[in-house]
Symmetry: C2
Subunit: 326 residues, 2 copies
């Protein structure tokens, strides 16, 4: 179970220790990278020796983050630190090779907003009501009067904005907006940064959307929308992991659609299935469990053996069955 | 030239007069309707006799706004009022049939954020630094201690959010975020309202996007992206005016694209051209002026005589010419 340490205790470690490593989960999103960089920059301001690692480095689309060049892929040879900080990472092993490259650390700090985080580490601070780990870091830096530079503000703004879908998701609170205001006063150029976050993607993403819309399919009396991406198309367009992110939202948002499904042929005879529901009546976690996957009631996934067409048929059939339940 | 009256003077009129009509521009967007409804609800709270008109009524996609049923199309027979309030409307005549249906009013009030508003009316308050007229109304209601109910908060939030692209455009300030926080504390359910604003559209909009992506074209060494909508496709898919809104942003956001163009065959042998630029080097207003249109440096439009293919060729050629300028 989680049992939070005071932010003051964590700030004390940051101020008194010297050799730090900062990490987050592999396949990092805006919250993971924004938090990693903001914390590394804060420690640098405090005059510390700082290392920042991510198993996947910094994906191309996040290279506008000021300070991103600090984040490296972890080395093969494990190293020693005084303090290891893990951010936005529910399960310690999900930081993957970054965690493995820490030979030894006197103190582990774990700061996160995932409800499933069990509070590993010597100091942990888990707030599942925060819409982003970036929001918790903002409170830490401000409350404990730690440095909060222009470049840190940019990183925290990206962390919070991307994890709330631009201040829109249900987890967003009045406090989140207040923090947005504070970060703008601290130097964030909201127009410029928003363009980099939301209005900039490779041409292949739009070509991918075109291919998917051309195979858009409706089932269960038009209450289910789905599309499937073949390995052939992935290869033809040079699709990378990031490119498919969020595409399911286009079809989930159609009026009258209750559930959306995305089928992605990932090779080794498997299909990655992503499901979304707009109604508690259709529990997509239950559907994914039938195929060895899991997740939340309204957002779930599974990796299923079989051809693209077979898996699509089976899963759509299982969803259709849900509509028949009393 | 603009010369602003004090918000206190405007509040005084709202408190002391009785028979009001509230209006905004035709083809209303979220700011126009949110402001119209919020003001009408405020006056109702003050116990006033309130009429709210819009030339186009309330488009289907805004029927989630609480109080939207107050907004009617103006009647054929002009009526008398004590006070006529015009919101988010730069030029008085753009409120069209709504303004024409006011036979007589003792006092005209004009509140707006468009820099081109010349300050018509007996009392005007124009703030071109405000990203939405909804932000000015918020300041009016709060500063002057006028009612600000739950339903009013929803309408102001929609006004501000839609006019800033969800708190993203360069016009967004720290104050805008502070107001977001205040409105959430006043009762806005940000998750629910955001879903209604941004994650809900008719199936035909996605079918339209598919058709457009299938004719997506790159020119000027891939620095220009464009697509064209034929009258035939408009008819086939049952496309309505609102459906095409914002589609040009999909292609403007492609990395490496400097200018985007959307060609819409509107009948009577004309094509509506919309141009966007990401660089001051490519002045799309100048291009549109060549074809009898106009606008801003980075966003402009024109209506051009000719077939869809002809107009597309001519305009893309003119844009290409811009790239050749020293």
């Amino acid at each position: 179970m989680q049992s939070n340490h005071a932010l003051a205790e964590i700030a004390e470690v940051l101020r008194t220790r010297n050799r730090f490593v900062v990490m987050s989960h592999a396949r990092p999103d805006g919250d993971a990278l924004g938090c990693t960089i903001a914390t590394a920059l804060c420690l640098k301001q405090l005059g510390k020796d700082v290392t920042a690692w991510n198993e996947d480095g910094v994906p191309e689309k996040f290279r506008y983050l000021p300070g991103h060049e600090m984040v490296l892929r972890p080395p093969a040879e494990p190293q020693n630190f005084e303090v290891a900080i893990v951010l936005d990472n529910a399960v310690k092993t999900r930081a993957g090779k970054a965690v493995e490259a820490v030979a030894q650390a006197d103190v582990w700090i774990n700061i996160d907003h995932h409800i499933t985080n069990e509070g590993y580490g010597d100091f942990s601070y888990i707030d599942a009501t925060a819409p982003a780990t970036g929001q918790i870091l903002f409170e830490l830096f401000r409350e404990q009067e730690l440095p909060l530079t222009y470049a840190m503000a940019d990183n925290l703004f990206v962390a919070i904005s991307t994890d709330t879908g631009s201040f829109q998701y249900p987890s967003t609170t009045a406090r989140t907006y207040e923090i947005g205001a504070d970060l703008i006063r601290a130097g964030v150029n909201v127009g410029e940064l928003s363009q980099k976050m939301y209005e900039s993607y490779p041409r292949r993403r739009l070509e991918l959307l075109r291919e998917l819309l051309n195979v858009l399919r409706f089932s269960s009396n038009d209450r289910v929308a789905s599309f499937a991406l073949s390995a052939e198309t992935t290869k033809k367009l040079g699709i990378q992991a990031d490119d498919t992110e969020g595409l399911i939202d286009y079809i989930r948002s159609i009026n009258g659609v209750v559930a959306a499904a995305f089928f992605d042929e990932i090779g080794d005879g498997r299909v990655r299935v992503s499901l979304r529901s707009k109604s508690p009546r259709i529990n997509v976690s239950k559907v994914c469990q039938l195929f060895g996957g899991g997740g939340h009631m309204l957002a779930a996934g599974a990796r299923v053996k079989g051809s693209l067409a077979e898996v699509q048929e089976k899963v759509l059939h299982a969803i259709d069955h849900e509509f028949d339940q009393p």
